[in-house]
């Protein structure tokens, strides 16, 4: 199992960062968050085509680059840093992982190449984004693959060509393919707290779907883990941006005749934040290394997401607070990341849920050990 990035991976990060630095400026983000589409088609095409990122973790046999959770984490960390607005997370990460884990071979071959090339945008429709244990309560499918129910929050459904729907059946959680425009499917854009990630309500009323596979409990949890690992990377990227920009501000902003960064109250807060960031970053990278090698503690993804939730918000709070009044204005960019932090904090499970999930896994790993002394 790797414990640090290779030179190639660092170079890959630089390629991604160089692209996003130019194509996802704060000005771009502001423009896209005000639009209804929420992404720049030309940039998305470039990102899929020239840079080839949409299929980062998709095996080469399905048209992807054949990398794994580590490289996907690198891409996401940079996207989080530059607050990239586009369907990467919904299509490649969420739908991509659900398909890789749950779809049958023929559906993988049929769908994944279009996701990897960016020819089609997909999204994963889950009726619960809080807890994997609660997925399937609202979306149901009949034996004849007729799907009904509501998913109140679906990322980028408004631009998706393909909806990968997890719906419960008497035989378990099925994975269904629903094409955009299907009869009985209605997609209503929701007003999102974080306008850089577009959300919709997806309602299915007796929609005729294709069943493309199953998400057993363990596959659902595996999918959840993989998505959380990537999400945590995106979050730590954003947290680092906030930290760096805030630190820079404290060095130039002058009050009482001196830079505010010379006051211990601010220095100590920054030192604490750096520590929290370093610990979270190490745990998040560790999660990707573990997932890539199928090794390590069973709870690494939940640990990563729990730490990401807390740390990103801490960085966001400090980002606003240390700037004072200007930090609370619309004109200043901090709130863009603050809203992403707040929204990501609870997306795919809050820190509380993940800590409880960790404990369940720890107890399960210790098996029949009830703690009784011999």
């Amino acid at each position: 199992m790797q414990t640090m990035y290779t030179e190639e991976q660092e170079q890959f990060r630089e390629v991604v960062a160089r692209f996003l630095r130019v194509k996802s400026t704060a000005g771009d983000v502001r423009q896209l968050m005000a639009s209804s589409e929420g992404y720049d088609v030309a940039v998305w095409r470039q990102l899929c085509g020239e840079v080839g990122l949409a299929g980062t973790h998709i095996p080469e046999e399905y048209g992807g680059a054949g990398f794994g959770p580590v490289e996907l984490g690198i891409v996401s960390e940079e996207m989080g840093r530059y607050l990239y607005c586009g369907p990467f997370f919904a299509s490649s990460v969420m739908a991509g992982y659900a398909l890789l884990n749950g779809a049958t071979e023929s559906y993988k071959s049929a769908i994944l190449p279009d996701i990897a090339s960016g020819a089609k945008i997909a999204t994963l429709v889950l009726d619960n984004l809080n807890n994997p244990g609660e997925v399937g309560a609202a979306l149901k499918a009949t034996k004849e693959h007729v799907v009904s129910g509501i998913a109140s929050i679906v990322v980028d459904a408004h631009i998706a060509d393909l909806l990968i729907v997890a719906a419960s059946t008497p035989d378990g959680l099925g994975l269904y393919l629903v094409n955009a425009g299907s009869e009985g499917l209605s997609i209503t854009p929701q007003e999102a707290l974080d306008p850089t990630r577009k959300l919709s309500r997806v309602s299915l009323s007796e929609v005729r779907a294709e069943r493309i596979g199953w998400l057993t409990e363990s596959l659902l949890n595996q999918t959840w883990d993989q998505i959380c690992s990537v999400l945590a990377h995106e979050m730590i990227g954003g947290a680092q941006h906030l930290f760096e920009s805030t630190l820079e501000y404290t060095k130039v902003r002058v009050q009482f005749g001196r830079p505010i960064g010379s006051f211990q109250a601010l220095k100590h807060r920054c030192a604490d934040l750096l520590m929290e960031l370093e610990f979270a970053k190490a745990a998040i990278h560790h999660a990707a290394f573990c997932l890539a090698a199928s090794e390590g503690e069973p709870y690494v993804a939940s640990m990563a997401k729990a730490m990401a939730s807390d740390t990103y918000m801490e960085a966001a709070r400090a980002g606003v607070q240390l700037r004072g009044g200007i930090g609370f204005t619309w004109e200043e960019d901090t709130h863009l990341w603050y809203k992403r932090a707040k929204s990501s904090e609870v997306f795919m499970g809050s820190a509380h849920m993940h800590r409880e999930r960790m404990m369940t896994m720890i107890e399960r790993a210790s098996g029949h050990d009830t703690g009784e002394q011999p």
Binding site: H268, A271, G371
Partner: protein, 415 residues
């Protein structure tokens, strides 16, 4: 020399010389003459100039044969390695051999009641009178000072210079009427440290080290050796029993004195290892609030461990990136210890009101609860670590100083 050659040479030498029936000091003198007491020291200074790996080969062979090595535990190591760097030939010749043989124990006399975090604000006075230094003042936090024969001392020789420049470094005999070491009882009942009172104590002129006014630079060497020691962990233990030879009994006694101040150190770190077993044993693991706090603790301690490992890996690979591992790790240890004590308290509930052998984990939980405050103070307080992180790592502007100019004019504690 390659490792095999070293292994053979030390092995042959031990076969010819080592005997568990000798008295400890007698054996260590043989060791010293044979050049095996400190193989990593320079050849002209009782050593062989070995690097760390070569010296480790020597230690391994000693361990395999059950041979006792030079005395190295406790503050004597700080003294020895500082003298090695800054001492005169005469000082090295007089002081280093009895340190290696264990005849002389040492202590460190740096902190004062009036200068804790601000070590360079020391106000213990050293005056040159008739060719010898007269010392007056008080030191504190002096581990093992009540057993020490000598001390490394930082004292002020010039009150008109700025604070860092007026300090000098002395080697002081602790066995004299002007020096009194009193154990300092801590809030957890242990007495790991002393206060040392010096009243017209005498240091011969030749025991000023490194020249007058160079005390701060030399103290920095000692502190850096001390920090490396923190990273290297605790002292060795005796693996053989007294039945296998009388020397082991003497060695065990030496180690017991040296290790005694540290018996509660695992408790000041919060005893993270006891959290899950205690939670299971008491059933507190079923409490959702406790589960949250345990998971928080696991996140913290895993994050700290992984961040340290990643920093070490990057250092090893020669990365130029600034890795602020030291102070961050120190700060992390404080926060982990506090969180662990918090969780232990939740797990124990009202049983946390008890202490002693009959209480939870043979008193270790109680000792933990009243020992963790030490970790965020010892070796540089959390607040000092945060200053270091923010100024040296993050490059934030320094606080304006009000301690420049002649030391005499700087505001100090009233003693």
């Amino acid at each position: 020399m390659n490792h095999d050659e070293i292994r053979k040479e030390v092995s042959d030498w031990l076969d010819a010389n080592w005997s568990a029936d000798r008295a400890l000091i007698e054996w260590r003198n043989i060791l010293l003459e044979g050049g095996w007491a400190a193989p990593n020291w320079p050849e002209d200074c009782f050593g062989r100039g070995y690097d760390a790996e070569q010296a480790a080969v020597v230690s391994d062979v000693f361990a395999e044969k059950g041979a006792v090595g030079a005395a190295q535990v406790g503050p004597r190591r700080l003294a020895a390695e500082t003298i090695l760097v800054h001492g005169s030939d005469d000082q090295k010749k007089r002081y280093l051999p009895p340190i290696l043989t264990g005849e002389h124990a040492w202590c460190q006399l740096f902190s004062e009641p009036g200068s804790g975090s601000d070590l360079a604000g020391a106000s213990t006075k050293a005056e040159l009178l008739d060719g010898q230094w007269i010392i007056n003042g008080q030191k504190v936090w002096n581990t093992s000072a009540h057993h020490a024969d000598f001390g490394i001392l930082v004292a002020r020789t010039d009150w008109d210079l700025p604070k860092h420049q007026g300090l000098s470094y002395f080697l002081i005999n602790m066995r004299q009427p002007g020096v009194e070491a009193r154990p300092l009882k801590q809030m957890n009942g242990h007495a790991s440290f002393n206060e040392v009172f010096m009243t017209d104590a005498i240091v011969p002129a030749e025991d000023l080290m490194g020249g007058e006014g160079n005390g701060w630079a030399i103290a920095t060497t000692t502190l850096s050796i001390e920090r490396q020691g923190f990273a290297r962990g605790r002292t060795p233990t005796v693996s053989r029993t007294a039945e296998e030879g009388p020397i082991y009994q003497e060695f065990a006694a030496e180690l017991e004195i040296a290790n005694e101040p540290y018996t509660w150190y695992p408790q000041r770190e919060g005893r993270v290892d006891l959290v899950l077993p205690r939670a299971k044993e008491t059933g507190a693991i079923k409490d959702p609030a406790v589960r949250q706090e345990i998971a928080r603790l696991i996140c913290l301690s895993s994050g700290a461990r992984l961040a340290a490992a990643s920093a070490a890996a990057q250092r090893k690979s020669g990365s130029n990136e600034v890795i602020p591992a030291g102070s961050i790790g120190k700060l992390g240890a404080s926060i982990i210890a506090r969180q662990a004590a918090h969780v232990h308290t939740m797990i124990s509930g009202s049983d946390a009101m008890l202490s002693g052998q009959e209480s939870a984990a043979k008193g270790m939980i109680a000792e933990t609860l009243i020992s963790v405050p030490a970790i965020s103070i010892a070796g540089g307080t959390d607040e000092i670590q945060r200053n270091i992180i923010s100024e040296r790592v993050l490059g934030m502007p320094k606080e304006q100083r009000s301690d420049t100019g002649p030391f005499r004019d700087i505001k100090r504690n009233v003693t």
